[in-house]
């Protein structure tokens, strides 16, 4: 388990990239008050999804605009084909906590 930040530091519409203490970078999003965490690196080529455009529970990759559903990690349009791993994230005592999932993506 990793403490990401205080919840005030991740307001709605924002994202953070976690690189320490994780096997691969993870992006944590606040989508209108609901937190999601997925692998940060796009499954298509090399771009950081924490830099992407967040709309509802979809994030659009900043490089070639594949969209990923943060609930499932699945791409909703090409060029990405593979799903992202999703991770468990929760708020406890005002802290954003990340539990990294090392299994296969959905």
């Amino acid at each position: 388990m990793i403490t990401v930040c205080r919840i005030e530091d991740l307001p709605p519409g924002e994202a953070l990239r976690v690189t320490e203490g994780v096997p691969a970078p993870v992006a944590v999003f606040n989508a209108d008050g609901v937190l999601y965490a997925v692998d940060d690196t796009c499954t298509h080529q090399d771009a950081s999804l924490a830099d992407g455009w967040l709309e509802g529970c979809l994030v659009e990759c900043p490089l070639h605009a594949s969209s990923f559903d943060l609930r499932t990690g699945r791409p909703t349009c090409p060029p990405a084909k593979a799903a992202l791993r999703t991770h468990h994230v929760e708020v406890v005592d005002g802290l954003v906590l990340l539990h990294v999932n090392v299994g296969e993506p959905a």
């Binding site: 950081s48 830099d51 455009w53 900043p62 490089l63 060029p79 084909k81």
Partner: protein, 395 residues
């Protein structure tokens, strides 16, 4: 409409097949492609493929399952040589005639080269996987000195990749300010300075007079008489739309196939998409041939709607977008510049090589450039405002 013929089996051609099926078209689709490969991604050819990070398999645009679902006929290694518009018949080099109810022109562009380059070993252009394989083989044999002619994006990427392989690289550019047309003078110079940052010589204002060597290239002779010694020369001086096969078709061709904003040509049920098309662009306000990956993925959706509805169906204006990866920097640009559009730094600073700038025309944001500032870029890209063009009313 019961049959569609797509000419050109690359990004835009595959995009057309995907869009046809997404829109529910169930008829026959035939795709004709000169290359022997199923569609693959070109941008990595000058980047990860040249450095060896990606192999050919990593470039595939589709996979077996998708091709099964798309259910199209792929005629690969087949070159179209003629379009007879009235009957919408395409003739192949082997003499076969293919007839269809609609034709999608997606033949892209071919690399320009220098006079005297043909027949001289060691001189390369870079457009196809075949080109990239040949270039990579030479860059990874011994330690050749490399000269790149042209400091545009592909030239700069090749220089960066060759440099990362540990080679000695010189870039030769005819203009005084590289990338001026794409990024404006000031920002063009900033991006061109990445070469020097990484130990690559950049010669500006250096016209090429010819290539040196007999049988195999030994150097590039400049207009002022200097010779840049080189074992490998890469010519990156732009591309020309692949429209030769349309001679005599009656289509209007002028630096690309002229189209309206819905990708319709002046012949009914013939559309053009991608690098070969010069469409009325609702963002730039003129007929613009855009040689970017994103246009080649977006335009097919528009063109297919035009075909399926029978009325030209323009998409909302969107700023042309491209990226370039070089020297471990990511350059992203959206919009369209005219002389006099002034960049203003809005994020980061030039010294650190991490910044974003917005270009304005009469106070209106018309373009955005970012270097290693993807987050700022995606936000600013959405604030760009299109030129207002009056669309001709349908007759």
């Amino acid at each position: 409409m019961r049959s569609v013929l797509v000419v050109g089996a690359s990004l835009a051609g595959l995009g057309a097949v995907r869009a046809l099926r997404e829109e529910g078209y169930e008829g026959a689709i035939t795709v004709v492609g000169e290359e022997r490969h199923l569609p693959y991604d070109r941008p990595p050819l000058s980047k990860q493929f040249l450095t060896g990070e990606y192999d050919a398999a990593a470039l595939a645009l589709g996979d077996a399952e998708e091709y099964q679902d798309l259910d199209a006929d792929w005629l690969l290694g087949a070159r179209a040589v003629r379009l007879a518009p009235a009957a919408r018949t395409v003739t192949l080099a082997d003499g076969r005639d293919l007839r269809a109810d609609a034709v999608v022109i997606a033949t892209g562009a071919t690399a320009r080269t220098l006079p005297g380059a043909r027949g001289l070993a060691g001189v390369h252009t870079l457009r196809t996987l075949h080109d990239a394989e040949a270039l990579r083989a030479e860059l990874t044999t011994g330690r050749p000195a490399v000269a790149v002619v042209g400091a545009g994006f592909i030239g700069a990427e090749v220089a960066s990749s060759a440099r990362s392989l540990g080679l000695d690289v010189t870039v030769i550019e005819a203009a005084q300010a590289p990338l001026e047309r794409a990024l404006g003078r000031e920002m063009g110079l900033v991006c061109a300075s990445f070469h020097a940052d990484h130990g690559v010589r950049l010669l500006c204002g250096a016209g090429v007079a010819g290539l040196e060597g007999v049988g195999r290239v030994t150097g590039v002779r400049l207009a002022d008489g200097r010779v840049v010694p080189a074992d490998v020369v890469v010519v990156g001086v732009g591309a020309r739309p692949a429209t030769d096969w349309l001679d005599g078709s009656g289509l209007q061709v002028d630096d690309g196939v002229l189209c309206d904003a819905g990708c319709a040509t002046d012949i009914p049920q013939v559309v053009a998409v991608g690098d070969v098309a010069r469409c009325l662009d609702l963002f730039t306000g003129g007929h613009t041939r855009v040689e970017h990956w994103t246009s080649a993925t977006d335009q097919p959706r528009t063109a297919v709607r035009t075909l399926l509805t029978g009325v030209s169906a323009p998409a909302p204006a969107a700023a042309p977008y491209f990226w370039s990866d070089q020297y471990r920097h990511r350059i992203q640009f959206a919009g369209h510049l005219r002389p006099g559009d002034e960049p203003q730094l809005v994020e980061g600073d030039l010294e650190s090589r991490s910044f974003a700038a917005v270009y304005r025309r009469e106070g209106r944001a018309v373009a955005v450039l970012a270097v290693d500032q993807a987050k700022a870029f995606v936000r600013m890209r959405r604030t760009l405002r299109a030129c207002v063009v009056a669309l001709p009313r349908p007759a």
